[in-house]
Symmetry: C2
Subunit: 243 residues, 2 copies
DNA sequence: CCAATAGTGTCTGTTAGACAATATACA
DNA sequence: TGTATATTGTCTAACAGACACTATTGG
């Protein structure tokens, strides 16, 4: 990787590699899961066989901006077009990629497990969902600095769930309040009081009723959808200060 | 800017330009200020004469990682070695820099106005503090997409001040509770109740008494320092839900 | 009627917000 | 003693958390 000293004086700097990585979260079997890909075992590919976040290089010919790049990779990997997507942060250093100084822009996406059939695409030996609290995951070694990025992403999600409506993006519409409450409990890892939960959700005024929805038996629940899918709601207080 | 198609097959991508920009906040004359630099009027330099955030290219030979790069630029510009520094986010697109596809990693720093003498350094025609609510600032045109980054930074700071101890980093130690309260009021742009403020700060248990500090006259106040400068404290609730 | 889930009501301890009162300095 | 700032105390309305109760379906 020779330094490039050919262009104009003003940007006479060797350019770092630029990538985008995505943390794709969903809820399956009452557990918060994360989509990971296995690095291919091919010459020239770093970290062969290790697991990594889905992602890759920015393609300056195809990607208008960073978010477009993230959405493209998300579409390739899951087929989902427009889930909730938020920038997590960026990680860049001389050491994180053996191919040279590199910086990655990390995003996280929330989507309902529904019709998602993960695709390996090119550049991946395998692809699978892993429970974020699965001890199997903690023991795993990861490519690049993806272990740290993953920790930061889970921490950010858990922390924001305390005072935002983010879990709603993990459900297909219409959803019911008991389903939403269950989703909060799964992400937070602790039970939440039913009455207080309902009061809080309805007071935040971000849900629209769409009529009674059928269920297996028992009393049929009210179905809801988000009034505005574009941005989540912030609650004025966190959930249980007593934790 | 020709595409580079020479290296190995696996990273056969033209590389975006990579920069780091910093929002440097402080409080001067009872107002929240931001340090800006004026772009030089030189051939090959984009946006000549416009104001911009201090920053520049990552130097892969000098900067071990992104944060080190940010701290280097901060030191060059202000002489301050270790203020509070937090990553704000990244902005990357084909359009933001006329020299080509570029991505910037934005940080924001909080520091006491004290002994800071802003230095132009190279690559800046001028450097100055601007009040973030100064109408003069709103009318200004900015280089790159720095107007958007600036808005995001001010919004993030104001939002986090509602439930964190961040304003403490804008004061030199030791500081008093009335000073800290004044700083909160300046950043938030509204008055805060004295009694509630004190209760809240002391309950959060992040301040250590360092003894009475002298003042011009009247009752001498207690001086405080941060117990842990490394990380700010999160309060369980926002300030005035009644806004 | 019973079981199971959805949804509402009630009570109580805590606390934020408003504001009043006290404390300590200097003139 | 008066004034200015620092610090503490009091009162009250609002509300979260806990939990009991009602509602609506199917068997």
């Amino acid at each position: 990787m020779p330094p490039r000293k050919s262009d104009s004086e003003t940007h006479d700097f060797a350019r770092p590699l630029t990538t985008v990585d995505i943390l794709i979260f969903t809820v399956i079997d009452d557990a918060l899961k994360l989509l990971l890909v296995q690095r291919p075992s091919v010459a020239d590919e770093p970290f062969p066989g290790l697991w990594a976040l889905p992602g890759g290089f920015v393609d300056i010919d195809r990607d208008a901006d960073l978010e477009a790049c993230a959405r493209r990779k998300l579409r390739d990997k899951t087929g989902v077009a427009s889930p909730y997507l938020e920038q997590l942060g960026s990680w860049g250093s001389a050491a994180r990629d053996p191919r040279g100084w590199s910086a990655t822009h990390a995003y996280f996406a929330l989507l309902p497990a529904d019709g998602v059939a993960p695709a390996k695409g090119a550049n991946a030996a395998d692809v699978a969902w892993f429970g974020v609290d699965d001890p199997q995951l903690a023991r795993k070694r990861f490519a690049f600095d993806h272990a740290a990025i993953l920790r930061a992403g889970v921490e950010r999600l858990r922390s924001k769930v305390e005072y935002t409506s983010l879990p709603a993006y993990l459900l297909a519409e219409p959803f019911t309040l008991p389903q939403l409450q269950r989703t909060y409990e799964i992400v937070l890892g602790r039970p939440v009081d039913k009455s207080g939960f309902r009061t809080r959700m309805l007071a935040a005024d971000f849900l629209a009723e769409v009529g009674i929805v059928e269920s297996d038996s028992n009393r049929p629940p009210m179905g809801y959808r988000l009034k505005d899918r574009a941005r989540p709601v912030l609650f004025p207080r966190t959930f249980s200060p007593r934790g």
